[in-house]
């Protein structure tokens, strides 16, 4: 297998155990996906890495039909509440992009997939959530 790189910092591939890792404020426990200067909730400046649950619940979605030219449509964009805390935005994969099939409140779990390849043969790995 060729070289792989996760699409974003907060996806850690970790062999067969890909998972999301957040920056957690050591004072108040708020979690963030981006690199941090300070905590927007409490003002703390100390953070630690926190492995997040790979399962959760769809609390909102949209089925996107009109997008930028290089984005295949239709697809399902969703906000997912992860078990044990944290919200993440991602596509819902392995489901027909139809309002009769995608359900609010549906249980989903993290699934990785190849999102592209660079000129050096490195594969970018992205994540979505599939029905659990």
């Amino acid at each position: 297998m060729g070289k792989q790189i996760s699409m974003v910092d907060y996806l850690v591939l970790d062999g067969d155990h890909p998972h999301l890792v957040a920056n957690e404020c050591t004072s108040c426990g708020a979690t963030y996906w981006d690199r941090r200067v300070a905590c927007a909730k409490c003002g703390g400046t100390s953070f630690r890495k926190k492995g997040m649950s790979s399962e959760g619940e769809v609390i909102s979605f949209s089925i996107v039909h009109r997008a930028a030219p290089n984005v295949p449509t239709p697809y399902v964009s969703a906000v997912i509440h992860l078990d044990g805390g944290g919200a993440v935005k991602a596509n819902v994969v392995d489901v027909e992009p139809d309002p009769g099939r995608v359900q609010l409140g549906m249980r989903v779990k993290l699934k990785t997939f190849p999102a592209g390849q660079d000129g050096q043969g490195t594969e970018a790995v992205a994540f979505g959530f599939a029905p659990a």
Partner: protein
């Protein structure tokens, strides 16, 4: 309690497309019209606030001065996403409240043409040079369409679906009814970009953009301008009886940003800052939602309007579906919402929108809204929200005469 400030004059150019003009032409015309409406001139102005989002680094205010009058007064060029116009108005209101000026001019203008979907284009998915991490998330490629959507129709669709997830009786049809209503309202507004009526079936059957928002549930891009003249209480008392009678009181002027919420870290939370702004505005104005005779709120997408029924306390928690189903926000309903046609049909030239809302409410409070007049209107609310986010609410009251 500080002295009130007043809207002395307003104007709005018909929203649409002006390929042969620029923002200086449009903003200048709106400014002159507002000053004519107010019965004053540029020489009476002590401050200018100008909102033009896409040219916010290009000194639009000063360029307008070079058309309508270079008097040396301070100009603030303001940018706050879709709350840009309302924020420009607020800089003028605050300057007058501070006592630094007794009259000022707020201008909102935008020229968007047919720019299409807003909210960030996709980056290429391959990189010949080799992937490198960049940005605050260390992304090796554009994430739009892979890690969900951040384009506006989808963002607001998701905001609406989150509400549908929480409350029964809200779905595609309720969202579509909002758009049907606003298109119908616009038929009576000659300043609207579109004045075409569509049936509920046509709204629901239009091309899907981001479920549940169809094409007819999304605001268009376009060009336009609006302006307002603001005056202090003391100065107003020196003006003519006719000017005093047409003046409209700014009972509340509020601006908020996002307090921390968990979901707000991944998806703009358009609710919390709107609720905070509404509560503060009601408190400042000493009125409640039941006192409002009309509301112009930020229906950039049909899903958004439904949320704001609750956020602005126009209905009970969870009652937004029933509110639209009952006809309450229609022009002849209990609390008419977006009788102008709203952003969905009146149009949404970003920088102009906040002041155009003030134009609309002021015109009704003066009893000058013609065919679309909400009879006997005494109190009205304007609301805009710029993603990122900024929320501005103004409550306006007819002069006691």
């Amino acid at each position: 309690m500080s002295e009130p400030v007043w809207i002395l004059g307003v104007s709005m150019l018909k929203f649409g497309r002006y390929p042969d003009k620029d923002v200086v032409d449009l903003g200048s015309e709106a400014a002159l019209n507002a000053m004519t409406d107010a019965g004053v001139t540029i020489h009476d102005m002590g401050v200018m606030g100008v909102g033009c989002l896409y040219e916010s680094n290009a000194m639009v205010g000063q360029r307008i001065q070079k058309q309508i009058g270079q008097t040396g007064i301070p100009v603030y060029n303001v940018a706050n996403a879709c709350a840009t116009g309302a924020s420009a108005l607020r800089t003028v209101i605050l300057t007058i409240k501070s006592g630094e000026a007794d009259m000022g001019l707020a201008i909102g203008v935008e020229q968007m043409g047919k720019m299409g979907l807003l909210g960030g284009a996709a980056r290429a998915r391959t990189d010949e040079e080799g992937y490198e991490r960049s940005g605050r998330y260390g992304a090796v490629m554009g994430t739009e369409g892979i890690l969900g959507t951040n384009l506006m129709p989808g963002v607001f669709a998701q905001a609406g679906m989150e509400y549908a997830n929480k409350y029964d009786g809200v779905g595609f049809e309720q969202f579509a009814k909002v758009a049907e209503k606003n298109h119908r309202h616009s038929e009576l507004n000659p300043l609207a970009q579109y004045q075409k009526v569509f049936s509920l079936e046509e709204v629901m059957g239009a091309p899907m953009i981001s479920y549940p928002n169809t094409l007819l549930m999304c605001c268009p891009t376009g060009d336009g301008a609006a302006a307002a003249v603001v005056v202090s209480d003391a100065k107003l008392k020196t003006l003519s009886i006719e000017q005093q009678k047409r003046a409209v009181k700014v009972a509340a002027s509020v601006l908020t940003s996002d307090p921390w919420t968990e979901d707000g870290q991944v998806q703009p939370d358009v609710n919390t800052l709107t609720r905070n702004a509404a509560d503060k505005a009601y408190e400042l104005a000493g009125v409640g939602p039941q006192d409002l005779n009309l509301v112009e709120l930020h229906d950039c997408f049909a899903t958004a309007e439904l949320l704001h029924y609750q956020n602005l306390r126009l209905c009970e928690d969870g009652g937004a579906g029933e509110f639209i189903d009952s006809g309450a926000p229609r022009r002849d309903g209990r609390t008419p919402v977006n009788v102008s046609g709203g952003l969905i049909s009146k149009g949404h030239p970003l920088g102009a929108t906040g002041i155009a809302n003030v134009f609309e409410v002021t015109t009704h409070l003066r009893g000058e809204a013609g065919d679309r007049q909400v009879e006997g209107a005494r109190v009205g609310m304007t609301h805009v929200i710029g993603l990122g986010s900024a929320c501005s609410i103004h409550i306006l009251e007819r002069a006691a005469t």
